[in-house]
Symmetry: C2
Subunit: 461 residues, 2 copies
């Protein structure tokens, strides 16, 4: 970081930004949680505190033709926030103001660095609820959630981040601050540029403010757990829930590998004599919620559950869901984890689980499974012993095979994590050349200099 | 339609399309229901039966540089489907196949010409529900609903058309058939081009197939009616419902002008001694739904309702909502109607209603009001005596004033009808030049020849 040898962009940033905004140490901001994705070394890391900081950074990059990689907390699992060699990494994690929570309009206006759980707590104080609940909710930021269109456990009933974004302030690829969307409940004035930016993984603009839609706080949930001796039985239970026209507020699958890893770490006494555990919740108000839970239980039982029950103990119910949330870090302790995020039609869940098992066998790779089963969104977690290059190669082959299987079953390569770097090949396989050309045309239209997170999601020709 | 003098596009279409696809009489397809919007005379009207027909039509327009105006049933209220002089009008109303209703995946795949109510009936047969319910539901088509991102009565709880569109088949502005979106519950593979096309009013592509998300059929609704002696009181009741954290499944406002017009036409015995009537519905399951209805009733009563009650008579409740749906055609019988579609923050509803009244007085114009009050989406209906040019000028001035007032209150010029031709000025006032430039850039990227519904929504430079 010597001024004599600094890249032109660094000089521009030093001149334009307030003291303390340009970080001396770039080490902590080189990549996200996708350990397997490549990353370069940034020329600079900017920790923006204001929209003006973001604007100055974008303009410095524009003027010097420097790639800009925006990021939030860096909890992504696809490499979307990984540094491009010589880029400027711009983190909005220090923009943490909750500007407004409005009970009447049912919206909140927040800066992008607000942590998901912090927003949820602020809403809860006013009897309101921000539903999107990725497993990273205690650490990930709303800006990152919006950039990746994050999902979570409650999506099966309440939808994903995009469903809750009413409006955005964005610094564009042409170096302007724009307001997209609205504060009103409805609005069709022009194209849905808000929705276009949601999930665009930093390739169309840098998010500097988010207006989210809120719901009233919901009734307490009821929990149902079921043990199954095969993935096929569990898949049949998921199908039975849909066929019964039920909409649980959560319908999660955790396999024995995950439960064992969590137990080994946290000693929660979870290891069970089952191949697969299904966890469901219902939140209809009053008696209807209990009836709904009973109906889910009946679906589990008639689909071959070896054991199933409604949980009457809230602590026990919470522990089961906590175990699901801890599965990923627990498995990471065993070695580098390559995370899949395929999403298939619900009817194809049993077949997809069988194909994952086949991939594990064929490529001699340990694959654990957690899944938002009610959405058909599966997270096979491919685990390799640390330092074992051959195992990594085998895991990589299994990863590609699973992506191919998901597409063959009418699914998508990414249900909620985003494309980033890890799923670029999958995206090319999923989208037709004409649709990829539409992506490139939109990207070129809104980022004509190509500075915004270049090379993420798709190659820019 | 003489071959000797026909435009080149007509010759191309004759050569490319099956018999019966090119209509001889263009008279019925020159404009939508926005009587006040200008329209030209089309060179040809194509009534497509297949995607291939649409593709051939788009390619003929591309090759000859002819404007293409896509349309569904023509029930729009903004002039979005109005013919551009010398254009090809392409209607998809004959593409009426329901290809699939899948209870397990909770989706339906339909051609764009399927009428909204027909889809809803097909879903109901399988215990499923397609929520978007514009007042035009008995006549309007899913293709048009998607192109305008149509709203309706149930939006206040269940959202708008965009919330239910999973995937689209589209013929692009470069003459290709593409599939956008997905069939899975979730998916983040690339930009949300599906959502971008929804609400783009035919300017980004021609919709040839729609995959919609469905919900399970819902419990029976409970109806609450309240009479208010002023719009301000009614607005206070709407605010009270939000503050009580209630989410009714409908919260509609109808004023005495509308009720009188419906009564005069249908003799439904609706005229009441009230300035404004609020109609609410709740649909929580079981006892919770009744409790919710009682809570809404309490909000009405403590906000100054002169009379309020839960309807115990389903026929009576249905009649009240039918009257709301018939308000527009009933008022049209009195003279040409200029329809507003402003949407303001819910807290601003009383102030907006007061400003509408002030506009009526200032410009000596009869303005009736229907409103999706729970969404802040107001439809002031400006009525002029047939043939009275001076009255039309006054109404036009009142129209512009109301648009300005809505923007001043933090609202949008169009909540659900679309921009079309009537709200282009409003759009320019609502969006910043930078955001308008983004619109033009996206339009140029996806429709580089500028043939798709040119001049609608915004001027193409």
């Amino acid at each position: 970081m010597d001024g004599m040898t600094a890249a032109p962009v660094l000089e521009r940033l030093r001149a334009a930004l307030p003291a303390g905004t340009l970080l001396d140490d770039t080490g902590g901001h080189r990549h996200d949680e996708a350990e397997w994705a490549p990353h370069g070394t940034p020329a600079a890391v900017v920790r923006a505190r204001t929209t003006a900081d973001v604007l100055a950074t974008v303009r410095a990059c524009l003027d010097t033709g420097t790639p800009l990689v925006p990021r939030g907390a860096g909890t992504g699992l696809s490499g979307g926030a990984n540094a491009v060699e010589g880029c400027v990494v711009l983190t909005t994690e220090a923009m943490t103001a909750i500007r407004e929570v409005d009970p009447q309009e049912r919206l909140a206006v927040v800066e992008p660095g607000v942590v998901n759980d912090v927003l949820r707590a602020a809403c809860a104080e006013q009897g309101l609820w921000y539903p999107p609940d990725p497993a990273s909710a205690p650490w990930s930021t709303i800006g990152g959630n919006v950039a990746t269109n994050a999902g979570g456990v409650c999506c099966v009933k309440y939808g994903v981040t995009r469903d809750y974004v009413l409006g955005l302030e964005v610094v564009t690829g042409t170096g302007e601050v724009v307001r997209l969307g609205r504060r009103t409940a409805k609005g069709v004035a022009g194209y849905d540029l808000t929705g276009l930016v949601v999930g665009s993984e930093g390739t169309l603009g840098v998010i500097t403010e988010v207006t989210v839609r809120l719901r009233p706080a919901r009734p307490p949930e009821h929990t149902v757990a079921g043990y199954f001796s095969s993935a096929v039985d569990a898949g049949r239970a998921v199908a039975a829930v849909a066929q019964a026209r039920l909409t649980p507020s959560a319908l999660e699958l955790v396999d024995r590998h995950c439960l064992a890893a969590v137990d080994q770490w946290k000693d929660m006494g979870l290891s069970v004599d089952a191949e697969v555990v299904l966890l469901a919740r219902t939140d209809a108000p009053g008696v209807a919620g209990e009836q709904e839970a009973d109906a889910v239980l009946a679906c589990f039982e008639r689909s071959g559950a070896t054991w199933a029950a409604r949980s009457t103990d809230q602590a026990e119910a919470d522990a089961l869901f906590e175990a699901r949330r801890l599965a990923y870090p627990a498995l990471e302790r065993l070695g580098p984890v390559l995370t899949e995020d395929v999403c298939v039609p619900v009817a194809a869940v049993p077949e997809m689980l069988a194909r994952i098992e086949a991939a594990a066998t064929a490529h001699d790779t340990l694959i654990a499974n957690i899944a938002h089963a009610g959405d058909g969104n599966l997270h096979p977690l491919l685990i390799t012993p640390p330092g074992d290059t051959a195992a990594r190669e085998r895991a990589r082959a299994a990863f590609e095979r699973i992506i191919g299987d998901a597409l063959a079953l009418g699914g998508t390569v990414t249900g909620e994590h985003g494309v980033g770097l890890l799923k670029r090949g999958g995206l090319r396989a999923e989208l037709s050349p004409a649709v990829l050309a539409m992506h490139r045309a939109v990207k070129a239209a809104l980022d004509p200099r190509g500075i915004l997170n270049p090379g993420k999601v798709f190659d820019v020709r």
